[in-house]
């Protein structure tokens, strides 16, 4: 269990680090990816809604505390995104290798849109509507492109640290 918590913490910290350094320079049409959304959705996809919600909450909260904006909005968004992504996985019967990419794209777009709605309701959204729309669509596309690269890594990390099941009689 401890090993699992540690490895997922390492994933979250790595994602935040890459997001603020490397990917700040690797922009796609002026937009950087949202790695924490990607990590949450992929882990929810592999592990289910329970883990999805927990990783989303923890990762979102970590991101919130590094931003200079009202805290808690990303945590709220990613908790719901992780839960929904994990839940939808249980109802979709498909072995298509494209499924994670599609789920990441839809989840990211929905999450970023939800984030903006909450920020708007709190009076904290100063960006224009067109910029918001652009970010929503481009981050979804960018995250989807990164999914085939990061999916195997995340699967290794989560499955490698999964506790072995002990059957008791």
């Amino acid at each position: 269990m401890l090993r699992r918590v540690l490895s997922i913490t390492a994933v979250v910290i790595t994602a935040l680090l890459l997001q603020s350094t490397v990917f700040a320079d690797l922009k796609l049409l002026g937009v950087r990816p949202e790695l924490m959304y990607l990590v949450t959705i992929v882990i929810a996809f592999i592990e289910g809604p329970n883990e999805g919600a927990i990783v989303g909450f923890a990762g979102g909260m970590a991101q919130d505390f590094l931003l200079n904006q009202p805290k808690g909005i990303t945590a709220l968004t990613l908790t719901l995104v992780g839960y929904a992504a994990g839940l939808s996985r249980q109802y979709i019967v498909s072995a298509s290798p494209l499924l994670p990419m599609i789920l990441v794209a839809v989840g990211t777009a929905a999450g970023i849109a939800f984030y903006q709605v909450v920020a708007f309701l709190l009076g904290q959204l100063d960006e224009t509507f067109t910029y918001g729309l652009r970010v929503t669509l481009l981050t979804a596309a960018y995250n989807a492109v990164l999914t085939p690269i990061l999916f195997p890594v995340l699967r290794r990390v989560t499955e490698g640290s999964r506790p072995t099941r002990v059957v008791r009689f």
Partner: protein, 285 residues
Amino acid sequence: MVTRQRPRSTRLLVVVLVSVSLAVITLDYRQGESGPLAGLGDAAKTAMAPLQRAVTNVTRPIGNFFTGLAHLPTLADENDRLTRENAALKAQIARDAYLRIQNEELQNQLGLEDTLAPDPVAAVVIANGLSNFEWSITINRGSSDGVALDQPVVTGSPDAPMLVGHVVSVQTDSADVQLIIDPRSAVAAVLTSAHERGLITGQGDADLKMTDVETGTEVEGNEPVFTLPYEVAGQPGLYPPGLLIGVVSRTVPSDNATQEYVEVRPAADFATLQYVVVLQARTGD
């Protein structure tokens, strides 16, 4: 493989996590800059700063190499152009030196205080803002180096500082700077030749927007825009006067005169910003 989970416990978990998030949003909204949540934020940033510094140290040379490769074909042309510009600028500097001496004498006579306070702090950019909704940088200097909240941040040479932004959060060994291109940033500015004042707000990666300019002002293209000194109830503004913000890129007329605005291209290149200087904030007197 997806393990089968008891839906009720998962739902309860989500309800709890959502409630905690909502509680954090509410608490943070009410407390603002002070309070335990801000302290937690500082702790998180303090922990991240060394890691960001390490990653940037490793990745920046690689990034610079690839940026250089991508720009190789245009470099020869740029070299030519820069050589010519350099010659022109040398002549300009000679003239400026004379003007500066004259200006200093006049300022002394008028009893104006030196706007750039002593002991500026040079800093390296170690990270950029995390989100697509925040235009900020993290620098490797903090309260232990004398950096404080609201201090203005510039880049460029000491003689021609270009405005970057101001400090919005300080930790012991790092600080966050809100860039002037952030939509939450507002800077009082003055057009050089028209002598008209206005307010400059950020528009993200697009050019800055200068509003509240007197209607009917003749604005020239490429006209430089500088920070404007102002005081509110005896408190000086965030930025010292005379810092270059950018040059006018276009004016946007509209049918409604009050909705006219001027677009200003920032002088500092925020995409490749690596070194900045933190100035001491002016104290009210």
